[in-house]
């Protein structure tokens, strides 16, 4: 009889908030704020994302290109509507960017993430407002280049 009663607490264990379970260098309070207390997401963050380094951002100024006699290249980049994206600069939040990556998901053609409980759906409009990019044109990524016929002929 006492053995059976010992089984019961295991149910209890799983329902208790596992606050003390992760001994780590990060401040638990901050993690809770970033992830709104989702323990599974915190674990993903600590295991997969936190140790990754961030690539130093680079910025290029279109006006400098023109001044240095690269007007041709500048026009090509402008024709691709990349001007705003290439010139993005300003404040950077390294920690929150890692949180963004930890929560990043891709479904139904939309990137989704959440930071500090704010749900972010990067829709067509958000791309346009922030980076000036439009969702149209040929879709190319690494390892999938068949969309550009002429390129394969050149090779």
């Amino acid at each position: 009889m006492p053995r059976r009663s010992r089984v019961a607490p295991s149910d209890d264990e799983s329902s208790t908030p596992p606050t003390s379970s992760s001994p780590n260098v990060m401040n638990q309070g901050r993690l809770d704020i970033w992830f709104e207390g989702h323990e599974d997401r915190i674990q993903t963050f600590l295991i997969e994302i936190n140790r990754k380094q961030i690539i130093l951002p680079k910025v290029i100024r279109m006006s400098r290109l023109r001044a240095k006699n690269f007007g041709n290249l500048e026009q090509h980049l402008k024709a691709q509507k990349l001007k705003t994206f290439l010139e993005l600069s300003g404040k950077v939040y390294p920690d929150l960017v890692k949180v963004f990556y930890a929560n990043l998901k891709f479904s139904n053609g939309i990137l989704k993430s959440s930071v500090k409980g704010v749900e972010m759906e990067i829709t067509r409009q958000a791309w346009k407002d922030v980076a000036g990019l439009r969702q149209r044109g040929v879709q190319v990524r690494k390892g999938e280049t068949s969309a550009v016929d002429e390129f394969n002929k050149v090779q």
Binding site: K52, R134, G137
Partner: protein, 139 residues
Amino acid sequence: MRWTSSTRCNNQCVRNQGEQARNFHVGRLRVEERLLGMVVTKIIMPRGSNHATLNEGDLVVMYCIQNGVMLDWTYTIHDHMMKAKRLTDFKLPYVVLISKFIEHFGVDVEGELEESTSLLNHVSTLNMHRMEFTKVGNT
């Protein structure tokens, strides 16, 4: 036979199979293409290292920019983001872009670790000068 680096070995293997070499060194390019290559490997599809070797994806993107083939950049960028998240060796790209998204969606950034892009981050001012990238005439 001994190889100095795995990359070189890989290249050699690809060539021996009777295919074209998939990787390309920027040294073979003209100044303007080289600068474009820098823009592609450092800003559009940034990776942690090896900016001097262009892979197939970089070359396609450069080809499209130069020949006016309109690309869906959101697709390229999101694919690169997902790859950076998935693969363990990848560093995290697009810090500035994501910080802008974070501000755009109104996340409270009070008291968070904060940095700012400085002149050091500008491709044009330092690197172009260092590499003596000045174009003379219309060649």
